[in-house]
Symmetry: C2
């Protein structure tokens, strides 16, 4: 089923953001066609890989899509993509891309074939230059405030956060434009840039204002929760926990559970600052941590975990990804968003569906990613509307491919 | 104008994700009403603050919304919120929340007042427990793979990435459900959990599969681009740059611009691995960095910046947030998404609009955030449909407030 059932989206993409956008729509029930050049796009072999050499990354970001493999340098290949992108259908004519191919694949040209089409293009920056998460992040200053207190040098994040945010905004933008088309009958062109998404987000979080109006720059604060209290602690059994005192309630719970009310009152007296104020908890975080650290250092996780849960504390355990996958039921099939799939060339592991649960439709089980060009023939017939002879000709000429030929391997 | 003009969304929220969702909709043209308890919600004083003590964070995440201040503990206050959330109007009856108030504010109860309402709730985890970005991230293992190579201990990111991703997914979910309502006349309940969003994202990036099928865990890799080549370098003038060799084209450009073809060929011979393969670039990244480091160390940024740009390299300079705001035109009013606003109590700085540009509507200029309860009277009249006497009574009883009273200050 899926909440977007009936919608058809075509995607010409690579890497994280736009593939994620298409995959998100596919997991909400849209028919999503990703086209790639024969042999695979720029992200076909992106790490992490399975032992077979197949990309786990590609498989993760293209789940539930249909794949068309086509020679994008040939005139016939370009005409075919144009036909697929601009095919008729009330809920079709929707195109997502980050490829920025000028000429035949721009909005002006494509919309001549379907006036009400909607095209969403994600660029690197507003000047149309390529940028990636790894260049946008340093340019905006996040690595300078990430990492241990006093550490000399910028620290990048392991998560491509800007890509993930931008990909989700591509989805919203497409849905907003399609909503407009439903009401007014008009398609349109939508432009976003990865760097603009990041720059706007800095502003939304108050960081641009902070940089302008406050003389003291924000500095690295290790694993502390910025602006209130939250800190990591090492327990007696070597496990590390993160505990949160962001809201007043969380703070009172933490003080109670660690039996530290008396010490906190002394700290308040000594400093002349009330710890009921979150800003004071932030200012006094080192003193607070000094009070709490011995408590955690004296206890194994098992000695307080249940009590923390029962008292409604907000906390968690630090894990490696391997530990999380092995130990946390929320990353297993106990969580209804996950399904165990056994994928040839990849292996058997839990695969996520959409994390959004809509009460009016059943959540689609997560589908595997297609093999490159797996749906070439189906798309040529059903979407491009070609007949058997025309399709055979395109395969013969090598304009399109499926199976091993789509992977660029000799038959 | 705005692409979502005419839509009305009510928001009961705090912190990052849901306020960001409402703000994103507001910046796309929707009328967004945020209600808060008198005195302000949990995030009213969240850092960073302006020198006046006002929250730059709150101002950033509530731009362009209308504010209703109401005593949520009183029966009349609750009835009023119910009335505002479920008010008639074809494009209304849309409610976003992360407050998880049981009973009067759950979907079952609210939808009795408007059958086709849509409610999107973001929880901490699927069990309904509070979780924040700072607890979800350690639980899933990202801090274990963030930070300098060989650094002992987890490193948190300064960006609340999961909140930002979840907030954008709240927007998509609302738009998808509203699309469904337009077609089928039915509203619905939509549930998401922050931890599920993060868990699903790990899966999308291939990290769950990697953790299951590969014996070697992913480790910290400092500022290197994961899976291909990308590294930071210190220049002769003390500036640090990030350079990318992710795609074949970027890699060839980097080798050419740094005149290192010969050294790379020697490395290929020595290692028996072709550097045209991105996985090999990743495996040999330390050797590559050793070759390139002296080149950067011998040059000031100004000696190669223009050449890098002219040769189409993908690269950037590391800056602090302050430097970025002061120096980068993309964070200034040269960028059409930014407008210089002078906000009482906050100061004068560039404020971002939506980063998405829709060709069929003019981009709305970014509006400032409301003061708490600024629109109370207007909302009671125009949305709740109360008459002058009813409104006066609610103010008299302290069920609603505006101005200083809304801030919890004595008149």
């Amino acid at each position: 089923m899926g909440i977007l059932k009936g919608m058809r989206v075509v995607e010409g993409s690579a890497f994280v953001a736009v593939p994620l956008a298409g995959m998100t729509l596919a997991q909400m029930g849209a028919e999503v066609i990703r086209f790639d050049r024969i042999g695979g796009g720029l992200d076909a072999g992106r790490l992490p890989l399975a032992p077979s050499g197949q990309s786990l990354f590609w498989a993760g970001l293209n789940k539930g899509k249909k794949s068309l493999a086509v020679d994008m340098k040939s005139q016939e290949g370009r005409e075919l993509i144009t036909r697929v992108v601009t095919a008729q259908g009330e809920d079709a004519g929707l195109f997502l891309t980050n490829l920025r191919v000028r000429g035949w694949m721009d909005y002006e040209t494509l919309s001549q074939h379907r006036e009400d089409m909607i095209m969403v293009t994600l660029s690197g920056d507003r000047h149309g230059r390529p940028q990636v998460d790894y260049t946008v992040n340093p340019a905006l200053g996040i690595p300078e405030i990430t990492g241990p207190e006093g550490f000399d040098g910028p620290v990048a994040n392991a998560l491509p956060a800007w890509d993930l945010i931008a990909g989700n905004l591509v989805v919203s933008s497409l849905l907003a434009a399609e909503r407009h088309r439903l009401r007014h009958g008009k398609g349109q062109n939508v432009d976003l840039a990865l760097k603009d998404v990041a720059a706007a987000t800095l502003g939304h979080l108050g960081m641009i204002g902070d940089a302008v109006v406050n003389p003291a720059p924000r500095t690295k604060s290790g694993n502390a929760l910025y602006g209130a209290y939250g800190q990591d602690f090492l327990c007696a059994d070597g496990q590390r926990v993160m505990v949160i005192g962001l809201t007043d309630r969380q703070w009172r719970g933490l003080v109670k559970a660690t039996d530290s009310a008396e010490a906190m009152t002394l700290l308040e007296k000594r400093s002349g600052k009330s710890l009921r104020d979150e800003g004071n908890r932030w200012a006094l975080r080192h003193d607070i941590t000094e009070i709490l650290a011995p408590w955690f250092a004296a206890r194994a996780l098992s000695e307080f975990a249940e009590d923390f849960d029962n008292n409604g504390l907000t906390w968690s355990v630090f894990r490696t990804v391997k530990e999380a996958v092995a130990q946390d039921p929320d990353l297993s099939t106990e969580n209804p968003i996950f399904e165990m799939l056994d994928q040839p060339g990849l292996g058997r592991f839990p695969v996520p569906a959409s994390p959004a649960e809509f009460s009016e439709v059943l959540r689609d089980a997560p589908g595997r990613a297609p093999s490159l060009g797996e749906h070439t023939e189906e798309i040529l017939a059903d979407v491009a509307g070609l007949d058997f002879t025309e399709i055979a000709k395109l395969f013969d000429k090598g304009v399109v491919a499926t199976g091993d030929a789509a992977l660029g391997k000799a038959a």
